[in-house]
């Protein structure tokens, strides 16, 4: 809906909301359309509720505006209605990696404080 903003420091965008992070991670494996994104999120996280279209596309719109995701070249697949696919940008990949690292650090802290059991060797 609007042009991507100029690049910012990835750390400025952290922490990501869980939905935005989930969308980014879903797109890491390849281009997907809206329903594909939702399916992949649901496959990964068995307890996830079905995303309402408004929430999903509002998140996608914000991701495009922030330059983390870009519309992918349209591909019409045999007989299916024409859909718009989305692709993660290199900047988006970087932000997702930083968020993952941040969560990893958080997880480590949680283990150290014994909120989570330590990993078995």
């Amino acid at each position: 809906m609007s042009a991507p903003r100029p690049r910012a420091d990835p750390d400025d965008l952290l922490p990501l909301t869980p939905l935005v992070f989930a969308v980014l991670v879903a797109l890491v494996e390849g281009d997907l359309h809206g329903y594909g994104i939702a399916r992949r999120i649901a496959d990964r996280d068995a307890g996830a509720v079905t995303l309402a279209p408004g929430n999903l596309y509002a998140a996608v719109d914000r991701l495009i505006a922030a330059g983390l995701v870009a519309p992918a070249p349209a591909a019409r697949r045999g007989g299916e209605p024409r859909r718009r696919f989305y692709r993660i940008t290199p900047f988006g990949r970087e932000v997702a990696a930083r968020e993952a690292a941040r969560l990893r650090d958080l997880l480590r802290t949680a283990r150290r404080l014994a909120i989570l059991p330590r990993r078995q060797p």
Partner: protein, 887 residues
């Protein structure tokens, strides 16, 4: 059922409008596709409840995200920064919420708004289904019912050779036939008689019907020698087969013949009538000789060719018609649009009048809510004055006042939606056979009703809140700070406003009460009208005989004789008379010319035929004015006619022995008796003239029952002194043959009352609306009086200290109440006089100038005013000077 997208998708589409237009352009289609994908793939696994929850979540998300996108700068991916003025708006809402949560809560105002919105939406739903919306089929403007006749009209069915010719006509893109075919559905929970139809395969496609389960018919089905198939309606599937999803493929018996179920159509599909509950395939071009009469002449429905106007199509069809049927008479094609609402004149007028009444009630309720909000605003003016003194701008005050009423409006709207749902469900349950359900459109709350509800809610909130907001924030409010604090009476503007609102409410309530009372009087006069027979004490029954069990006339006659014998043997039932056709509806109808063969002159008449046994006239106590009723040896063309028909044909001359003929019938009917007319004023059968023919006729020395070619047997009997319990009688009739289906067994009085269902419902609804308006006006008056007395306590206390007696103080309140009521009543009488002009077509046996009504209504209004004033008056008279002066 139609080509439109399902309701959920339409609702979501509406909700997506919350998003700003650029966002919608970018993602709207994708979002709908996403919704379709998700529902399409998930709902089979997760069920209906999940689907409903997903729809609600989707609508809520669209509304919430859309609102955020509109009011705030787009939040960044991670942060929650918001625009400054939004915070202001939130503060306004928070403050407003706090104010409302403090006592006194505006529960009553919310209730009034809810009732206004609920009534408005419910009435709109009904009027929309009956009168506004086209028939629920895609491109309904090109769908027509087609038939042939002379230039004035003709039979609404056509012979099958014309049907076949028209199928090839370029006038029509598509043409399908329908033959009515009721049957006994035998192996559900209990055997029941249900209306069904034979349809040509392809009709469902033409009407855009989509099955709920299974499929509809395909070409080739319904030809002689093919399997017997049936499609069930959702209603029949639920009521008789417990919504068993494995029904498709099962074989069930319809009037003794096994049929395989191929599909179930959703409740929203109603065709050709709203009562049709199953459909069987029929190829009308390949009928076998000896097929039922209804199938030889199907009703025919067409979709016009896209390039033709109805006039051009009619012309082209007429050419085909004249080439096919050449009997020397002029032939014309008639196209009639498929109407959604099948309403008689009375129902149309009544529904319009009731819709207008709901409009008035809506105004009364809004005025009342406005009243309550004004009363609150008067109490609040000191707060607003204080805020203004502390430097709040007028704009800020306006915003706060609007925020407060907006919350009231929102609460009222939510409660109103619930009220509308409850009212529509009640209307559906309570008025099954009256005029509210006579539509091919289902009466449901849908997107149109929601839109109407939104408009109603906005209007109601606007009407109710503007006076209060204006009053609370007008510049003068600041200067009133001190005086209001001392508890002075609101004067000038506010007082005028309150009075004007109450006067308006009382006036509208009075007008509605007059209308309601007139409709009630009209209904009572209809209910007690002379019917030309004595219905009290008579019970009638009609029975359907399954054709596999009663294949011929002899077996049906034997059953009828059995029933007559059993009933005669029951103590207290005398006389008992078999007939074909029961009062008040009769059976065979004829509309057309009646031609006397011996003097007299031809007359157009609407005849309702009865085939009767000799005891018929004695049973119903229908006076025979001339000649005699039939005896057991009657000839098949002997008839008894009514006095009105005699007068029309032979101008009051004796009619016995004279003969007449009906159009399209070669028999010469010989009059053997003249009976008094039957009357059922106010009903659709009002203009019918009865004529009676013998049920059993003497032919060559034998007695033969002429009218047992159908599987219908009807009987009436008089109970003397009281009727045995009806279940007991039912058991006795079933004792004659357990396979019989008793379609009805009920007192004749009830049947007549049933005819008056529409006037009864109109009167009941009008009175309910009028009482709602009157009670609401009373409530409004009460709240105003209570406020005025509360604010005048100082003044009243001073008066008491100066020697005013309690009675004089109470009189002050009563004077105020009755002044306002008298003004309202005067205005209301004028308004009612205007309204009754429009009601006159609904009134029977009572004139708009009915004195009883015009006396009773002011008395009722007076009573309500008195009741509203009593408590405030007592409060005023108990004013304690010491306590008040000490404050």
């Amino acid at each position: 059922m139609t080509g439109r997208p399902p309701l959920g998708e339409r609702l979501l589409r509406l909700a997506l409008r919350c998003h700003p237009a650029p966002f919608r352009r970018e993602y709207g289609r994708e979002m709908l596709q996403y919704y379709r994908d998700t529902v399409g793939r998930e709902s089979a696994r997760r069920g209906r409840l999940w689907r409903a929850r997903f729809l609600i979540a989707s609508i809520a998300a669209a509304a919430g995200q859309g609102l955020c996108q509109r009011v705030a700068a787009r939040p960044a991916v991670g942060s929650t920064r918001r625009a400054g003025w939004l915070a202001d708006g939130r503060t306004d809402l928070k403050l407003a919420w706090r104010r409302l949560a403090a006592a006194p809560r505006p529960t009553v105002a919310i209730g009034m708004l809810a009732l206004a919105v609920g009534l408005g939406v419910a009435m709109f739903t009904v009027v929309d289904a009956l009168m506004l919306r086209p028939a629920p089929f895609p491109e309904a403007d090109r769908l027509f019912h087609v038939f042939a006749g002379d230039e004035r009209g003709g039979r609404t069915t056509i012979p099958t050779d014309l049907y076949a010719a028209w199928r090839g006509s370029p006038a029509f893109e598509d043409l399908h036939g329908v033959g009515h075919g009721s049957a006994i559905v035998e192996d559900g929970i209990e055997p029941v008689m249900r209306a069904g139809a034979f349809v040509s395969p392809g009709l469902f496609e033409m009407l855009g019907a989509r099955p709920l389960l299974g499929r509809t018919f395909v070409a080739g089905e319904g030809r002689p020698g093919t399997r017997a198939l049936v499609v069930l309606s959702e209603r029949l599937w639920r009521s008789q087969y417990g919504a068993d999803r494995s029904i498709v493929g099962r074989r069930l018996r319809l009037s003794g013949v096994a049929h395989e179920v191929v599909g179930v159509l959703p409740d929203g599909f109603r065709f050709p009538t709203m009562r049709t509950e199953f459909w069987r395939p029929m190829d009308f071009t390949a009928l076998q000789p000896g097929a039922e009469q209804a199938l030889n002449r199907p009703q025919t429905y067409v979709r016009l060719a896209a390039s033709l106007t109805p006039a051009a199509a009619s012309q082209a069809a007429t050419a085909t018609l004249r080439a096919t049927i050449a009997d020397g008479r002029p032939q014309f094609t008639h196209l009639r649009p498929i109407m959604a609402g099948l309403m008689d004149e009375y129902s149309t007028a009544a529904v319009t009048a009731l819709a207008a009444a709901v409009g008035l009630v809506f105004l009364v309720l809004c005025a009342n809510a406005a009243n309550l909000l004004v009363v609150r605003a008067i109490a609040r003016r000191s707060d607003y004055g204080l805020c203004a003194a502390l430097g709040a701008t007028r704009g800020r005050l306006l915003r706060q006042a609007f925020a407060e009423t907006a919350i009231v409006g929102l609460a009222g709207t939510i409660a109103g939606a619930a009220a509308a749902w409850a009212l529509v469900s009640t209307a559906r349950a309570w008025l099954p056979d009256a005029f509210l359900l006579r539509s091919l459109n289902p009466i449901d709350l849908d997107a149109r009703a929601l839109a109407a509800g939104a408009i109603a809610a906005l209007t109601a909130t606007g009407l109710a809140s503007v006076p209060a907001v204006w009053l609370a924030t007008r510049p003068g409010a600041v200067s009133l700070l001190r005086s209001v604090d001392r508890g002075a009476v609101p004067r000038g503007g506010p007082r005028m406003l309150l009075r004007a609102l109450i006067v308006g409410e009382v006036a509208l309530a009075a007008a509605l009460l007059v209308s309601g009372a007139l409709l009630l009087r009209s209904f009572l006069s209809l209910a007690h009208a002379d019917r030309g027979l004595e219905a009290t004490g008579v019970v009638t029954a009609s029975m359907s005989l399954p054709s596999h069990r009663f294949p011929d006339r002899a077996s049906r006659l034997a059953f009828a004789d059995g029933v007559e014998r059993v009933l005669r043997a029951t103590p207290g039932l005398r006389p008992v008379a078999l007939s074909y056709g029961l009062p008040p509806r009769g059976s065979v109808r004829y509309i057309g010319p009646v031609t006397p063969l011996s003097g007299g002159r031809e007359a157009e008449a609407f005849l309702s035929g009865y085939f009767v046994t000799p005891d018929f006239f004695r049973l119903y106590r229908i006076p025979i004015l001339e000649g005699a009723a039939f005896d057991d040896r009657a000839h098949e063309h002997d008839v008894v006619i009514t006095a009105t028909l005699r007068d029309r044909l032979w101008a009051g001359q004796p009619a016995i022995g004279r003969t007449f003929r009906l159009h399209g019938d070669n028999a010469a009917y010989r009059v053997v008796g003249v009976a008094a007319d039957l009357r059922s004023p106010g009903s659709a059968t009002e203009d019918q003239l009865e004529w009676y023919r013998p049920l059993r006729v003497a032919r060559g020395g034998d007695v033969e029952a002429e009218m047992f070619s159908t599987g219908q047997v009807m009987v009436g009997f008089r109970c003397d002194p009281a009727c045995p319990p009806l279940p007991d009688l039912r058991r006795r009739i079933r004792g004659v043959d357990p396979d019989v289906v008793i379609a009805h067994l009920s007192p004749l009085d009830g049947e007549y009352l049933e005819l008056l269902a529409a006037p009864r419902a109109a009167a009941a609804l009008a009175l309910v609306f009028a009482m709602a308006a009157a009670v609401s006006a009373g409530g409004g008056l009460f709240s105003v009086l209570a406020t005025v007395v509360g604010r005048r306590r100082r003044e009243l206390g001073i008066r008491a200290a100066l020697g005013a007696r309690p009675r004089e103080l109470a009189a002050l309140v009563f004077r105020e109440a009755f002044t306002v009521a008298a003004m309202g009543l005067t205005l209301g009488v004028g308004l009612a006089w205007l309204l009754t002009r429009f009601l006159s077509s609904l009134l029977v046996g009572v004139t708009p100038a009915d004195p009883v009504t015009w006396v009773v209504v002011p008395v009722v209004i007076g009573g309500i005013v008195l009741a509203a004033a009593v408590w405030p008056a007592r409060m005023a008279s108990s004013a304690d000077p010491v306590a008040i002066l000490r404050e």
